[in-house]
């Protein structure tokens, strides 16, 4: 019984793609926040490792800089740009929401009960942030490949 009482959906509840159609754009923003947060963390660690090559002399430093001067390297950096922009923009939306701003006011909702905390302002923010991230990636690509 004890084990049973621990029932949970597990990682399926996160990665099952059908969830994202059913639970709205906010749920999609949530998984994207998580993925970009972890992606940025991985990049951050890699970045410290890469820049630490400065201690190993000029040749090693230059060689490590060359790593991202390839087509794959450019695409990778464009992804980092996109992750940065989405994570920051969405992070600001979340912080405001989690501080209680922009959620609407409690009241007497009527059927069909549109939840006020998932309002158009928040949804527009998410779409705008995704759009901004795409724009930044496109600009980054234009500079790197240009």
């Amino acid at each position: 019984m004890e084990k049973e009482n621990k029932a949970k959906e597990g990682i399926k509840g996160w990665i099952n793609p059908t969830k994202y159609g059913k639970f709205g754009i906010e749920r999609f923003a949530w998984i994207l926040m998580r993925i970009t947060g972890l992606g940025l963390l991985a990049y951050f660690i890699g970045h410290i490792y890469e820049t630490s090559h400065i201690l190993d002399g000029k040749a090693v430093w230059n060689a490590s800089l060359e790593l991202t001067q390839t087509t794959e390297g450019h695409i990778f950096l464009a992804l980092v740009i996109g992750m940065c922009v989405f994570h920051t923009g969405n992070g600001i939306r979340l912080m405001l929401g989690q501080m209680g701003y922009g959620l609407g006011k409690p009241g007497r909702p009527d059927y069909p009960y549109k939840p006020q905390s998932l309002n158009m302002k928040g949804k527009a923010c998410i779409y705008a942030t995704i759009g901004l991230a795409a724009l930044a990636m496109w600009y980054g690509m234009a500079v790197m490949f240009g």
Binding site: E4, E9, G13, W14, E26, R27, L94, Q98, M99, P106
Partner: protein
Amino acid sequence: MSNISQEISQEKSETVLSPSKSIKLRISRSNPEAGTEEKFDEFVIPVEKYTTVLDAILNVKSHLDHSVAVRYSCRQASCGSCGMKINGKPKLACFTKVSELDTDTITVEPMDNFPIVRDLAVNFTRMFNNHKKVMPYVVRDDSEITPGTGVKEILQTPEDVDKYIQFSSCIKCGLCNSACPTMAMDTSFVGPQALAQAYRYIADTRDKGKNNRLKIIDESHGIWRCHFAGSCSQVCPKGVDPAMGIQLLRSYLLGLRD
């Protein structure tokens, strides 16, 4: 009298309101205690315009397989018993019409993040314990039932009531907890149902239990595990909007309001 009520009053009992059609109902069957794995049984049943998913399941129970386990009581979205996954989304079976699903195959499964008792019936013990933990009642020493305090009635303005009434609509169906991605990984998480109720009582001007309640939810498996994915509010059938309550609770803890 409006047109609609006139039409209804003119209907004779033999009038066919909606010609019935057939759908396929797939019911998840399992019995963890007996160690049986989940399998799906399929039934073809007639439905009409206003047949609910619960009606459809009860039709199976009456005519095709009486061993299907399902919990229900009020059949009118009031008791909170019949929560289940309907075509993958947590919903009340009694509050979901077959016609609104717009498909000929309906799959019903037990809610996620709850232990299965059998088939569609799940165990609510954990959710009810979390609910009790947040002290879901007005806390104060003086009241009309405490002798000697002289209190007769504690008045509230309609505006006072507006602050919490939406959260008091909760029927403890557990749909929010089953939709929550944090609940999916953290079995100790207090959950959107209980957090929304913590807010309901804290926002009540008659209540004096705010500090105690905030202490209870301000712990490692408490309110900070919420990431505002909003799925609880997305599925709540009563307009409670737990996600709003949770973020408003946070603003107390962050000192942004008192």
